[in-house]
Symmetry: none
Subunit: 208 residues, 4 copies
Amino acid sequence: MQETQTENTRDKKREQILESAALVFSQKGYRLTRMNDIAQKADMGKSTLYEYFTSKSDLFMAVFGWLKTRYQVTADGFALNGKSAQENLSNLIQGWVASLVDMDVHYQLIMEFWAATASSEVKDQLKQAFADIYQTYREVILKVIEIGMKRGELKEDLDPEAVSAGVIGALDGIFLQAWFKPEMDPTKISNHYITTLIQGLSADPHRS
Amino acid sequence: MQETQTENTRDKKREQILESAALVFSQKGYRLTRMNDIAQKADMGKSTLYEYFTSKSDLFMAVFGWLKTRYQVTADGFALNGKSAQENLSNLIQGWVASLVDMDVHYQLIMEFWAATASSEVKDQLKQAFADIYQTYREVILKVIEIGMKRGELKEDLDPEAVSAGVIGALDGIFLQAWFKPEMDPTKISNHYITTLIQGLSADPHRS
Amino acid sequence: MQETQTENTRDKKREQILESAALVFSQKGYRLTRMNDIAQKADMGKSTLYEYFTSKSDLFMAVFGWLKTRYQVTADGFALNGKSAQENLSNLIQGWVASLVDMDVHYQLIMEFWAATASSEVKDQLKQAFADIYQTYREVILKVIEIGMKRGELKEDLDPEAVSAGVIGALDGIFLQAWFKPEMDPTKISNHYITTLIQGLSADPHRS
Amino acid sequence: MQETQTENTRDKKREQILESAALVFSQKGYRLTRMNDIAQKADMGKSTLYEYFTSKSDLFMAVFGWLKTRYQVTADGFALNGKSAQENLSNLIQGWVASLVDMDVHYQLIMEFWAATASSEVKDQLKQAFADIYQTYREVILKVIEIGMKRGELKEDLDPEAVSAGVIGALDGIFLQAWFKPEMDPTKISNHYITTLIQGLSADPHRS
DNA sequence: CATGAATGAGTGTTCATTCAT
DNA sequence: GATGAATGAACACTCATTCAT
């Protein structure tokens, strides 16, 4: 257990770098960030970064992974519980909204990753990663919808694929607009919007 | 009229540069595009670009403007016509979806601008520009909804701000997901989704 | 003929770089030479070098080619003339010695290339190039010796391969030693040595 | 005797480093060798190397010394024995050739040192060292020749300086060529060449 | 007006060396 | 004594921009 350097120490330093990198990437963007900036922020020599990450883009991706882990929304168990599809949908979505809100200071950083999917060296990796994240959520929602349809809670002529994609998309899009217009309150909008949507989905629209 | 160069010629050349730049930015991304690439594609000397645009970012912004003009969805007249809110919404949305679909080859380019709002030198200009675009659309939808509510076509407890933001957001988000997952058909999903949504919005849900 | 830049100008500039590079490489060695040094010596911006050569090692190899051309010993016609093998050998060797002496200021540079065959990125290219040069010379000498043997001018039990390699080797080795010990006069030593050697080769040793 | 570390241990470790360094320098060349590589090969920590050698170049020079010691050709006693100059020359040369052949795996390494005389930080030290080695050999051969001339075994009009330099040079040059052209057999060529040369040197050329 | 040529500021990365334990 | 960790100096190369023609 007594290694040359405690794993603890190493992990701590790694975390320190990750956090500094997150901050600087967030402020300056990937392209405009210099390794030096990160090193300074992390209060260490530039080359030390290379002891922990092989390159700038490696570090960038590591920050992505770090963020992903930090804000992972666990969507397990939603499909199979006893609640109604409406309730489950609402909870699921609220969970996701909460996580988006929670990211708060990291939203700029997420934009950065998002932006990097358009060009950058890591565009393919990132695109895949994003695709996976979306895929996961879409599948959970999909299942909830399908079950709701079977149970007769939701309309029978829905296209579950389209709806799940739309729900995810709507939330994303709302937060995106809030990103462009800071005075918007994406949480409030999301909630209201979702309520309305669920009514559109429900078999018996008089039900809340 | 007998200038050193006809305005005509100058405009033509400008257009030529713009198109070449659009193409190259789209293929390589802003960051990875070299002025040289654009010059070659436009079949002219590198320095000539600087006769028409002061800098790379200036050119980038010019391409943005060019694209914006090209795909401007005219939303005029929707609010005041005699159709129902549902119809107007549907048309509006279909118009926008059509324009998104129409962009087709330029979608990658749009991503590029989108990405540039996150960092880049022109981030502020672009952010503002996007905000304006969204704002414009939101306002039209907003108006349609408000009128629909007044007329009793739509539910009376809607938050028009939230709904309009949500509608725009949903469409954006759907196309975004399709960008990550090419086998998706964003048009079909949008249409289905919108139908469902409008039902949620309608005062009398049995109406289509 | 009136191109964007006269080929003349371009060649002149190229030559200028080559000469500056030759000088700096010669003084500092490949490894210790910075592109900047060369640019300064050539009185131009660093990046201009890259307009003419793709990389440091490319430039290095170009200097090698330049030097090779400059000091190419033409060994043509030696085998087939009417002179005796002894005379031809003597002339050939004197020609080579003369060229070695002529290199004079470039000897250090040649060492540099020689050294680069041991490691460096271009080691393989250079090794091949040197091998070719040696091969060429060896073959001329070989032919002269074979003809001399046929004619009975040289001993009949010679191994022409061995002798030609030895002759070339001896000259090289002598200059090498002079490189280590500047007070040596490699020309004098070569001449004397060769005289002795030719006597050893001759069928009738009493002949000069 | 009970030091903090037995001299024995220390020497052993030093040797271990030296051997590892020799190997790595030989494979990658001075410039491309990293201290890390050597440390790993020697199965110890990087910094430990600095306990035994002050710097990379110091280590390089130490390897040179190590190699020099290992392959030192003892030329003592050749001048003063009862054998003929021809025999002594032949033996001397064969001894040297044997040592060159013996070096075998180390030939690449020798090239490396040789190359380092051209530039590198240690160029002056190395140049001096090589000069000394050559000087030593030349002197032995010189003496043998002078005695041979006095005894009338060798021609009387020889320039002993030139001949000794030439002999050494020839051998070096032959091995050099074999280095460039691996299919050559330098031993065979050396022997043949030397035989011929000695005949040229001999007062009575009919003697073998 | 058009442009080829020239440029220098800017940066990721390597690696010998030092230092704290 | 031994070593893993930390470091900063060093450097090739790129590319937006300018300039001379």
